[in-house]
């Protein structure tokens, strides 16, 4: 792309390349765009500048091209119109000249042409060509032939004379000379009667013309002449064609007047006087009106031109040509040389002012469009570059963030691994210690079990022995001991029985949680009725069981133990001889809430916790069967099952034990 731009721009390209190289080396010295150096930032927008510059250059190029093309198009139109006009004019002029040639031919073909013949011959041409001022036949008359000539001429036109103008411009009879060039015939006669008989040898212009045509033997055209018609001056020109003496053969073969007087071979001249305007205008009228002004110049000398005629376009109201201007200084000129009768006319066409103007709007449209497009493209590229830079920056930032995050994560992973390792070590330690503790606990449980077992046998045996021995002593010495000793023996046995009950209670207590219970479908109502039957409450006591009690799978023995202990507790500590114990059950979420309520003497709040502690009794130790183990056992059983036991009681208001018991999972 860069070489193309360079080629296109030439010198500018060199500058551009220098700038480019400067920018590139600058870029090399500061490779990091993110360093924040201003040139580096601007350098990042290089594509934007390139696009803007290129866009502008292309736009200007096309603007110029389009303008030029438009100008060319209009100029072509103008030139074509001009050429058409020149062609038509030229043809018309040729036709005009042809008239003279025809007259000359006519005279050459006929040794004698009468006035009437001449008139008849030229009439059609005069009618056809408005530019004809006069058509004449000018014979060459030597002084010797003057009289016979005049005499001959007076045959057809009696007042004929050879005339001339004197110094005061009056028309007089021509003075005697060697040779005369009088106008013999002239048509149309009425407008040109002055000319009839006039000796043209004295008219400088015409004489020169005739001389030239005689010398060349060709048709010749005069320089500009001024024709005055009804007081209006017009440009005109004179055309002459020489007519030689022909060797006209008589029918019998004899020669007629073969030698002209004076030794020259010229018999006369066919001459026409033409008004340029009237030649040109009708011809141009055959074309449709065009906005072209045409001027006809005659070259008098080298570089000196005389304006012959100006055709003002029919589209123009008046002449818009500056006076005195030859028109060729106009910007647009189409000129052509016309050759006629050894003379050169220059036909110059110029466009009518305001016509054939190039429509510049297309160029401006291209320019405006190109600039807009370039602006848009530049803006787009700038946005793109900006966005790319932004994205790059964002990528950099994100990458940095990511790497820092990764680093953090790595650290975290390492820490976490270390922590895991530590945790594992701790866990291993813990497991080790748990294993040790577990085995220790198991060993202790085993020890306890062994202890309980040993206790059950080894403590009970001596007790039983003491009891039995005391009984036997009592029996055997029934008659020999006094009442006091007998009572003491009874107390001994009673304490032994109490000791036994304590041991049994302890064993039972220790057995809770030690033994695996057996789960069976338990009908709690049936269980309660059975228990009540076993406990055989004293007369006067009523135990109420709800009609509907749950049936569920649980440890029958333990639940029975709880109920038995609570009911017997209520019976034992009722304090009255008549009473009512009411069993209740509420179905809760996940467990049952049973209650055993009595209407006895109640328990003061300060003892509510104490009664659940082992060996704690609220009454005298010697009270039969009160070991202080029952409620402790109940609490232990309920808690082992994950339940709770509560007491609601106040002195004199009875006691209500509530405990929760889990439903099967």
């Amino acid at each position: 792309m860069i070489p193309a731009v360079t080629a296109m721009l030439g010198k500018w390209g060199e500058l551009f390349r220098q700038v480019f190289h400067w920018g590139r080396s600058e870029n090399k010295t500061r490779p990091m765009a993110s360093s924040g150096a201003t040139p580096a930032i601007w350098w990042g927008y290089k594509p934007v500048f390139v696009v803007a510059l290129l866009g502008l250059l292309i736009t200007i190029y096309f603007f110029l091209e389009v303008s030029d093309w438009e100008e060319q198009r209009v100029y072509t139109l103008f030139r074509e119109a001009s050429q058409d006009r020149i062609l038509v004019v030229r043809r018309e002029i040729e036709h005009t000249l042809a008239t003279i040639r025809d007259i000359a031919s006519y005279f050459e073909a006929s040794p004698e042409v009468g006035r009437r013949e001449f008139r008849k011959f030229v009439e059609p041409a005069i009618k056809r060509h408005a530019g004809i001022k006069a058509l004449m036949w000018i014979p060459r008359v030597s002084h010797s032939d003057r009289e016979s000539f005049v005499k001959e001429a007076r045959r057809s036109f009696p007042p004929y004379l050879i005339k001339e103008r004197n110094l005061s411009k009056e028309i007089v009879v021509a003075s005697a000379r060697d040779e005369y060039l009088p106008v013999l015939y002239v048509q149309p006669y009425q407008k040109n009667r002055e000319l009839l008989g006039m000796d043209m040898a004295l008219d400088t212009t015409i004489h020169t013309l005739l001389r030239r045509s005689e010398e060349t033997g060709e048709l010749r055209v005069s320089e500009r002449v001024v024709l005055t018609d009804n007081g209006v001056e017009q440009s005109g020109f004179v055309v002459a064609m020489p007519v030689d003496y022909q060797e006209l053969l008589e029918p019998d073969g004899g020669r007629i007047d073969a030698e002209a007087p004076g030794g020259t071979g010229i018999r006369g001249f066919a001459v026409g006087i033409f008004r340029i305007g009237d030649v040109v205008e009708p011809a141009l009228e055959t074309l449709s009106a065009g906005a072209v002004n045409i001027r006809f110049f005659e070259e008098v000398q080298a570089g000196q031109k005389v304006l012959l005629y100006t055709h003002i376009s029919r589209m123009s109201g008046s002449s818009d040509l500056p006076v005195g201007s030859d028109g060729e200084d106009r910007e647009w000129v189409h000129g052509q040389e016309i050759s006629l009768g050894g003379r050169y006319w220059r036909v110059v066409c110029t466009p009518l002012a305001g016509r054939y103007e190039a429509d510049t709007w297309s160029g401006w449209v291209v320019l405006a469009g190109g600039i807009s497009f370039t602006a848009l493209l530049t803006a787009y590229v700038a946005t793109l570059v900006g966005r790319t830079k932004k994205v790059n920056r964002l990528v950099e930032v994100r990458t940095a963030e990511l790497s820092s995050a990764m680093a953090k994560m790595n650290i975290e992973i390492r820490e976490r691994k270390a922590a895991e390792l530590e945790l594992k070590t701790l866990n291993d330690d813990l497991e080790y210690w748990v294993a040790i503790r577990s085995s220790e606990a198991a060993r202790r449980a085993q020890d306890l079990e062994q202890f309980a077992y040993v206790t059950s046998h080894d403590l009970k045996a001596p007790l039983r022995a003491i009891s039995n021995l005391a009984e036997w002593i009592g029996e055997d010495l029934e008659d020999k001991i006094d009442d006091e000793s007998r009572e003491q023996l009874g107390l001994l046995r009673d304490r032994v029985r109490r000791m036994h009950a304590l041991i049994e209670g302890l064993l039972e207590y220790s057995r809770v949680g030690r033994t695996e219970g057996s789960y069976t479908e338990v009908d709690t109502k049936e269980l309660l009725l059975e228990l009540i039957d076993t406990l055989s409450p004293p007369k006067g006591f009523v135990i109420k069981v709800p009609k509907v009690m749950p049936v569920f799978r649980t440890d029958r023995l333990l639940l029975g133990q709880v109920f038995a202990n609570l009911i017997s507790n209520s019976l034992k500590h009722h304090g009255g001889s008549r009473g009512c114990i009411e069993i209740g059950c509420n179905d809760r979420d996940g467990f049952y809430e049973f209650s055993v309520a009595d209407d006895g003497m109640g328990i003061a709040p300060q003892y509510h916790e104490k009664i659940f502690m082992i060996f704690q009794t609220l009454e005298a130790k010697d009270y039969a069967g009160n070991t202080g183990i029952g409620l402790a056992l109940v609490k232990k059983i309920v808690q082992e099952r994950g339940g709770k036991i509560m007491l609601e009681s106040a002195p004199g208001e009875g006691a209500c034990f509530r405990f929760t018991w889990p439903k099967p999972a």
Binding site: Y453, H457, R464, N468, T515
Partner: protein, 138 residues
């Protein structure tokens, strides 16, 4: 009613307990000869006549304590049940253990009854009476 001639073997190491049984027998007027072995090994010896005088005729009922020196009641039951010669002897476990597991373990050896030694002689007496009344030792 229990045949008076069928000997009964009591395996018990506690002297008072032996006395208790003897006294209960006397009280209940049980005439059957009562042999006493202090250990399991001694009991086996008496039953088989290995190194000591064999009980003749062989005992129809064994009253067995579980907590015995040298050889526990369960070991004795193991040996007894394994011996082909000593089949068909009724066994009543007479122990101070109220442990459910002991009870279960005893019944695995197909014992005829499991009695927890009452702490009162009167109760014990009643229990012995009931046993001998109900059990036909023929």
């Amino acid at each position: 009613m229990l045949n008076d001639n069928v000997p009964i073997l009591l395996i018990e190491d506690d002297r008072v307990d032996i006395m208790t049984v003897q006294r209960a027998f006397k009280k209940n007027q049980v005439k059957n000869p009562l042999h006493v072995a202090r250990t399991g090994l001694e009991a086996l010896c008496l039953l088989k006549g290995d190194g000591c005088e064999k009980i003749n005729p062989p005992p129809g009922l064994i009253l067995l304590d579980l907590n015995l020196p040298k050889m526990s009641g369960f070991e004795f039951l193991e040996r007894l049940r394994a011996d082909r010669e000593l089949q068909g002897i009724r066994i009543i476990v007479l122990t101070s253990s109220n442990e459910p597991r002991d009870r279960e373990a005893a019944f695995k050896y197909d014992v005829d009854d499991y009695i927890v030694k009452p702490h009162s002689f009167q109760e014990f007496n009643r229990a012995i009476g009931t046993i001998l009344e109900l059990w036909d030792l023929d």
